[in-house]
Amino acid sequence: MVAVGNDRKAINRLQAMYGFRALVEDRYKRAIEASQSGQPIAWAMINWWAGDAILNTMDVVTVYPENYGVVCAATGSAQTFLARAEAEGYPAHLCGYARNCLGYAASMKAYGGIPPDAPMGGMAAPTLLLGSGGICDARYKWFQAMARYLDAPVWTLEMPHPGVHESLQPGAYEQNISFIVHELREFVAFLERLLGKKMDWDRLDETVTDMLETNRLWHEIMALRRARPCPAHSRDIWTCLGAILTPASDAKAALKLFHSLHDEIKHRVDNGIGAVPNEKYRLVFAELPIWHNLRFFDALAERGWSFVFESWAYHPPKPQDLSKVSDPLERIARHNYQWVTGYYTGAAAAGEWWGYFAYPYLELVRDYRCDGAFLHSVLSCRAGSTHLLHVRDSLMEKLKVPSLLVDGDMVDTKLFNAEDTLRCAETFEETMTHYREMRQKEGREW
């Protein structure tokens, strides 16, 4: 890899983030301890808070292979696992996280345990796999494919993804909620059979309450990033993403961390402290981060590029008042559904029919006053790439905000050219300036 940037700290990092990172590291450790003491371990897809609270209440230690893909990419270990997956016969266009994990699982089987060089001490062998039917196909096909290396049973947690138009039909909302609730009930029943113990509903209720409070806080934190200069850079969010997207796996600890994060960011906003000291351009990043080269964003920060939010699905759903809903599963369901459909009413009003993935950027770019969008098109991810051309076009058409479309990969170092991208980025500054002037001439808000 050709390194771009240097060790100068161009981004003013948040201290609270290190607590989140420690939490993620701790999970890998706890899973290994659990495997020694016979406690159940789940490998789970990021499930948009549908399954985590349930697993946690059933005393299952959960690690997230998508996050492990991030860990491997960031520590430079991914290439070995990717090569292994390729040698196993998995086509190179499949999800980078998945190929990393399949390579890891294959190595694990061949070695008869955690391979010696596995970063973070490795992922301990699972008792069960929790796939997801939502957001992308890899998330259920990958776990099905893992049967080649692991004998653990797989549960695939369904998640509806209706169209905007269809979701707004009378009765559709409640019907989809009822689907998720039923699905969660089946999942709980499966876990009870697998683990030979009953669900503690009171404990689940408490975890869900913490989880929803976390979401409220998270949403507030994200809103604080609208400040100029932006107090928190995407890089900080990425560093802790593993914990941010899965707080219910450690509900109490996570809630505490969100409080400290909130306080630190609030302090910055009150005192006009920015994540990038000289904020010249405010950008949004979509979708999958360039995990293997995060230092690249320091190089951009040196040029005054501030990434003020990232990837709609890494963004908290709009909070709802669920205090009157007594069934914890139903509260999970309503929250989970909000993740996908929370933007749909706005989308319909704007005449936009791509209600998740594409439309959220229109709202968020406007709310966060962005000058540009950095769209990372990933060869190995259909879900994260299909909408980017439409996002580019609608941001330009409706908001006069330009986009920089960049080819790369979240795991595979070989598909991203940092030097070229940096060259394009320099030119893109002129484009952003041009459209900023145009927006001002047209009397737009930013």
Partner: protein
């Protein structure tokens, strides 16, 4: 009305060459034609409302020039081709379109189609990905929603008797396709793989009754005529959609006949049967979610099993292929997928494990859904035939 002259396979070839011709005639007579993508939209429902279902397919001989403006090149070229044809106006004759969450890119294309082609009627069915009880219920509710939109479109209520008739009509057509496949069991098979694709693509371009009548003509004709040449290999063809004869023709130009397939212009679209149930929707849900064998559905024979053993798992997932191979006397399996198809891509190593396990020689081909790029595949296929010969 134009005089219908040709019959049987001759008519099949005419339709294959110009798929929309017949439905355009019907449209001129006042019928409404609804395009559908993949095999998940409920054809029975469309037929019951007196709408003509017309399958949206691509064209691997036509360069993709317009779709790249709104769909990146890292997605399945078949869907890019479908959208490209749409953007070029080739599907303008449709009165509406139905999409489903067949796969991720299929879903996204539904949104793009709605945005860029503004169809007068457009519906998206959110088909779940498992066979959980909740998923079956969800699909049933989805079908009720679909029905509602069709009632609005046609201005009439769904007639229960017509609905049951439509289900029977599609069942009858499926049964006749299965009868056609029976004619591929002898050696040499009485009908080639190339011809079979043409027949099925014709069926996907006609109202069900008309298709069934054509199918009856084809059956009679094929039974009568001199069988094609005997070949060394009898091949089972698996994988992503094949909606052009080119790939099959290339294989059959060598010393092989395709005798059975597991593709969606093939057995996946026709090998099931909708059971007669008190609520007709229950039979449909079972057919579409449980019976259709596309890898987009995470099918488990024992949902929520607590133990998993790899070869039992493989048997559950792929056992039907062994049955196909046995019944059609296949001595080799060609696995193929177009590039960027995730749901087939994840399947390949396990599929090869299974076929090796049951002693079926196999080869995997990845291609670009591009007729001019088939030449290098010829060497692989020929080498495979040399391996099994």
């Amino acid at each position: 009305m134009a005089v219908a002259v040709s019959k049987g396979l001759a008519r099949v070839k005419e339709i294959y060459q110009d798929r929309p011709r017949r439905v355009k005639e019907l449209k001129a007579q006042g019928k409404k034609v609804i395009g559908y993508q993949c095999v998940y939209p409920t054809l029975e429902m469309l037929t019951a409302f007196d709408l003509v279902p017309y399958r949206i397919l691509g064209d691997m001989q036509e360069p993709i020039t317009k779709a790249d403006a709104c769909l990146p090149t890292v997605v399945c070229p078949f869907i890019r081709s479908c959208l490209d044809l749409g953007l070029k106006g080739r599907y303008d004759f449709l009165d509406g379109v139905v999409f489903s969450h067949v796969c991720d890119v299929g879903e996204k294309t539904a949104h793009i189609w709605r945005i860029y082609l503004s169809p007068a009627y457009c519906h998206f069915i959110d088909v779940p990905h498992t066979t959980h009880k909740a998923a079956l219920e969800q699909l049933k509710e989805q079908l009720k929603e679909f029905r509602k939109t069709l009632e609005e479109l046609t201005g009439k209520k769904l007639n229960e008797a017509k609905f049951r008739e439509a289900i029977e009509a599609h069942n009858r057509q499926r049964a006749l396709v299965q009868a056609l496949y029976e004619l591929r069991k002898p050696d040499p098979p009485l009908i080639t793989g190339t011809e079979t694709i043409q027949v099925l693509m014709a069926l996907m371009s006609l109202p069900v009754e008309e298709g069934t009548q054509l199918l009856e003509e084809v059956l009679a004709e094929v039974k009568e005529r001199k069988p094609p040449a005997k070949k060394m290999a009898r091949v089972l063809l698996w994988g992503s959609i094949i909606d052009n004869v080119a790939l099959v023709e290339m294989i059959e130009s060598l010393d092989a006949n395709i005798v059975i397939d597991d593709t969606c212009v093939g057995t996946r679209a026709y090998f099931g049967h909708v059971a007669r149930t008190d609520d007709p929707l229950d039979g449909l849900v079972d057919y579409y979610l449980v019976q259709i064998k596309c890898p987009r559905t995470f099918r488990e024979t024992n949902t929520g099993a607590l133990k998993k053993d790899y070869y039992t798992d493989l048997e559950n997932r792929f056992g039907y292929l062994k049955e196909y191979a046995e019944q059609w006397h296949a001595n080799g399996v060609i696995l193929q997928s177009m590039k960027y198809c995730d749901i087939h891509g994840y399947e390949v190593p396990s599929m090869k494990d299974y076929l090796d396990h049951v002693g079926l020689p196999n080869v995997y081909l990845e291609h670009d859904y591009n007729k001019s790029a088939l030449a290098p595949l010829r060497t692989r296929v020929q080498a495979f035939l040399e391996v099994i010969g």
